[in-house]
């Protein structure tokens, strides 16, 4: 493997052997009606040519030992807390959002325990209200919104587009500190006694009536909003200005398109939330304000401003998941994505139309019925690009060569659960039906199908897919597949009964409930315990893999993205030389059709396409 040109020096994985698989998709496979052309036998020259570098950089000084990986670039805590390397910042985020995820999860566990019996016998009403508020605030702003963008987005955006870092690395570090500062305010509010407004902070309850630490919690959310804005700004500029040569817009991986769409929402929606919460805090502090009906203000104004942010924020949670799905499904189906362009336009369409539909949260709020009708129709429009995405993922499987590794299981689960979540969203977009279902458990079930069944499944899929790249280690695929199935089963058991509860009329945020709802609530709580096991399992085998996992090659899944062309874990500078891109992404079909013979070859020739490890489960024997 050491015969690669200098530009590929980075690619020699520590383990050598078959693990250092080299993808060719970046070679010119534009036409697949014939034997693959030269690119296939000259991965280094064809797909990644050294780009003249602006400044001297010893990485390009010729063949050299494996460049220092980003993980080895300093071991002190300070070397992490002061790092402006996008990959290290991604790890900082990953650790912090995991902590917040389990904090929010503890609140959810207590909620489900309380709801096992109709009577409010486990925690008091005040405690229950604080629990669901903390669950909502933490899960929405400190887990779901930053989850994929801040971890995988940070890690992968520069790698996928062939850049050395994000455009503004210091801003990136600042945004992590803002996230932590916001988190401290919120955790402070939690320790000081909690907040009981619900994550929606509706006025006038939050301004004039709640006796809890609303201002501290709101400040936390305000601050974390700026973290989102800076991340979005960084991604937009990076994707526009830092793409590798040849990386045209329609050669971008769909994950990048998803990040771009997400960033648009970050940048254009979050400031409205910030100013709204600012108004809320002042109004609570001073007792005067435009949301207070006592002076002729309007509480619905708050709801309009809040949902102008918070509805697009839902798409912040799901768009990155869609990006992950496009990466993973193509890779394990070994097939090009179906209708790449419409997939790219669909994420943009979702991001933009997503801004036009916020009023569907307010059909029974007392807004004008004309507003209701306008928002209802617009909401149906946003269903179309979402439906396109689901259909295209399904079509991608057609005539593929499907492997069932853990990431694929998570993402197939994602497609199914997102479909259910999306379709039930249409129930809620229907005006008259929403009048019945609004603020019942039907809504709870619907958005958990989108956010947990969708975003969290995709997040876990992404963890398993890019884990070898991020850590350089393989985990136990057997355990991972087991966990994926547990999560899928536990999730459905938890949330499907809630659809029934909602249709029966059980309102959300209820500490106690009429006894006829008990059976379904018990089912839901039982499911939650299964789900909890599913979420805890990865902690064990993933941590285990950090120490004992076999080393992963640079490309254990034989994937096509640029991120797989650099060693695992990637070097500090990402690429020994900036790659030159010559073909669209996801050319798996060409990769599958062409080299049937090499498939069984045990010792790939130098400069020959490296073969994924043995049959079926790529990465298995990446020693």
């Amino acid at each position: 493997m050491s015969t690669d040109g200098p530009s590929q020096g980075a690619n020699s994985a520590p383990s050598g052997g078959s693990a250092a698989a080299k993808p060719q998709a970046w070679g010119d496979h534009a036409s697949n009606d014939g034997p693959p052309r030269g690119a296939n036998s000259a991965p280094a020259g064809g797909s990644a040519a050294a780009k003249p570098q602006a400044r001297g950089n010893d990485a390009s000084a010729g063949p050299m030992p494996t460049p220092r990986s980003y993980l080895d670039d300093g071991f002190s805590l300070w070397s992490w807390f002061s790092s402006v390397d996008h990959k290290r910042i991604a790890i900082l985020y990953a650790v912090s959002i995991t902590l917040f995820f389990f904090t929010g999860g503890v609140a959810a566990t207590l909620i489900r325990l309380e709801l096992i019996t109709p009577a409010g016998d486990f925690v008091s009403a005040e405690t229950y209200n604080k629990l669901f508020t903390m669950h909502g605030v933490i899960m929405v702003w400190f887990f779901l919104i930053p989850s994929i963008p801040s971890t995988f987005g940070n890690f992968l955006v520069p790698l996928m587009i062939g850049a050395r870092d994000l455009a503004f690395p210091k801003l990136n570090l600042l945004s992590w500190y803002l996230y932590i500062a916001g988190g401290l305010f919120t955790v402070g509010a939690l320790i000081a006694g909690g907040v009981d407004t619900g994550w929606t902070f509706y006025t006038p309850f939050s301004t004039m009536f709640s006796n809890t630490h609303v201002i501290a919690a709101v400040t936390g959310v305000f601050v974390v909003g700026f973290s989102s804005i800076l991340t979005g700004l960084n991604f937009i500029v990076t994707i526009h200005k830092m793409r590798a040569p040849g990386m045209t817009w329609f050669r971008l991986p769909l994950f990048i398109w998803a990040m771009y769409a997400t960033s648009i929402i970050f940048v254009l929606a979050t400031p409205v939330l910030a100013i709204t919460l600012f108004l809320l805090a002042i109004e609570r502090f001073a007792g005067v304000g435009v949301f207070d009906p006592a002076l002729g203000g309007d509480p619905l104004l708050f709801q309009h401003l809040f949902w102008f942010y918070s509805h697009p924020a839902v798409y912040v949670m799901i768009l990155p998941a869609m990006g992950v799905a496009s990466e993973i499904i193509t890779c394990y189906a070994r097939k090009d994505i179906f209708a790449y362009r419409s997939m790219a336009f669909a994420v943009l369409a979702i991001a933009i139309i997503g801004f036009l539909v916020w009023g569907h949260h307010m059909f029974v709020s007392g807004q004008s019925i004309y507003a209701g009708m306008v928002f209802s129709i617009l909401t149906f429009l946003v269903a179309i690009p979402s439906a396109i995405k689901v259909f295209n993922w399904t079509a991608t499987l057609y005539k593929g060569s499907i492997h069932f590794d853990a990431p694929m299981l998570y993402l197939l689960g994602f497609v199914g659960l997102f479909t259910i979540g999306g379709m039930t969203g249409l129930f809620l977009a229907s005006l008259a039906l929403d009048v019945h279902l609004h603020d019942t458990y039907f809504v709870i079930a619907h958005f958990h199908y989108i956010m947990v069944g969708g975003s969290v499944m995709a997040f876990l899929g992404a963890v398993h897919f890019w884990w070898p790249k991020i850590t350089g280690r393989m985990y136990s695929d057997r355990w991972a597949r087991f966990a994926a199935i547990i999560v899928f089963v536990g999730f459905n058991l938890t949330f499907f009964p809630q659809f029934l509860l909602g249709y029966l009329g059980m309102p959300r945020r209820y500490h106690e409930y009429p006894p006829e709802f008990q059976v379904l609530n018990v089912l839901s709580s039982a499911g939650a315990s299964v789900l909890a096991v599913g979420y805890l399992l990865p902690l064990f085998y993933l941590f285990w893999s950090l120490k004992y996992g076999p080393r992963a090659g640079s490309n254990p899944w034989r994937a096509t993205g640029l991120e797989w062309q650099t060693p695992s874990p990637p070097p500090v500078e990402n690429f020994a030389a900036i790659p030159v891109v010559t073909a669209p992404p996801y050319q798996y079909s060409a990769m599958e059709i062409a080299p049937q013979p090499p498939r069984s070859r045990s010792a790939p020739a130098p400069r020959e396409r490296g073969e994924g490890p043995g049959e079926g489960i790529p990465g298995k024997d990446a020693v």
């Binding site: 009403a125 619900g198 129930f427």
Partner: protein, 320 residues
């Protein structure tokens, strides 16, 4: 244990129509979801790695043409179906929003954490609403503190109840029964206890209930008492020396305001005139009325509104 309901009770034609919409959506979404699940499982099995399924795709140009057709088909078809369903739902929503003129009025005040209801006859109820079957009933609702929401699953309707505003909800119950009322807008500590019953009675039984009820006097009479208690009559009464607008025959009339605009004197106008007297000042009068914000409970104000309503056909001088 397993005899729990899977379907909420239904007691109005509107609820049945909402159910039809629900089942239509269930069918549409069920077909889509099952199709997606079936295809995923089918493809996953047929095209699993190592299977012998044929994998030859048509050549590039043809593939693109075909996939364009498929794309257009699955953009247009769902769009047409979804929009059709959407208009169906919008029509029903419109019916929700338009109460018939002859509906029996009941006034509701939400406060942390109870519902106070009052019939025009003066019968007061807390967390219970008695209504006759077969007759449209219109709830005129407001809140004394935070936003609440009045939800009756049996009729498939709910409406947020806001401070400083009146919102309405109407239904016609089909048959007698006893059903849940929930508050569905989170309103603080005992939100989950802000529940009640709606009791639908045969009209005759309802009439008996009304007469047997706790009403000593009608809402309007009660309102007249409050009108004096809060000192309104001191200025608006016949013998008042203060120059204040006369309230006889006011309700439903268009009122000229001092700034040149005009408004119809409805519940909201009277409410605002009492609570925010400086917002709309009647032309030709000084803005001297004090605000009763925080002085007067919403349910008392509803009595007063009922009283002023009862003076719809009165002639000036009738107020004492």
């Amino acid at each position: 244990m397993w005899d729990f309901p899977l379907h909420p009770p239904t007691d109005s034609s509107l609820a049945t129509r909402v159910d039809h919409l629900f089942y239509a959506w269930l069918a549409v979404s069920g077909i889509v979801t099952i199709a997606v699940f079936f295809l995923i499982v089918y493809f996953a099995m047929k095209y699993r790695h190592g299977s012998r399924a044929a994998r030859d795709l048509p050549p590039g140009a043809k593939l693109r043409r075909e996939s364009h057709r498929i794309e257009i088909a699955w953009i247009v078809t769902p769009l047409v179906i979804f929009l059709g369903m959407g208009f169906w739902a919008a029509g029903l929503y419109y019916a929700h929003a338009a109460p018939p003129a002859d509906a029996t009025e009941v006034y509701a005040v939400g406060k942390q954490w109870m519902w106070k209801l009052e019939h025009t006859g003066g019968q007061r109820e807390i967390d219970e609403l008695h209504v006759p079957a077969g007759r449209p009933v219109k709830l005129i609702m407001t809140s004394q503190d935070v936003i609440h929401s009045f939800f009756m699953p049996v009729f498939r309707i709910k409406q947020d109840v806001l401070p400083g505003r009146y919102t309405i909800l109407w239904f016609t119950a089909d048959k007698p029964g006893d059903y849940h009322v929930f508050c569905t807008q989170y309103c603080g500590t005992d939100h989950a206890r802000m529940i009640g019953r709606v009791v639908v009675m045969q009209p005759a039984a309802f009439q008996r209930w009304l007469t047997r009820g706790n009403a000593t006097q009608s809402m309007a009479e009660e309102g007249a008492a409050r009108f004096r208690q809060y000192g309104c009559s001191g200025c608006h009464g016949a013998s008042a020396s203060v120059h204040a607008p006369k309230l006889e025959g006011l309700f439903g009339r268009r009122v000229q305001l001092s700034d040149g605009s005009s408004v119809v004197a409805d519940e909201r106008y009277i409410h605002d005139s009492v609570m925010l007297p400086r917002k709309d000042v009647v032309a030709g009068y000084e803005p001297i009325m004090p605000s009763f914000q925080g002085e007067i409970a919403e349910e008392d104000l509803l009595d007063i509104i009922a009283y002023i309503k009862s003076l719809r056909d009165a002639t000036p001088g009738e107020i004492r």
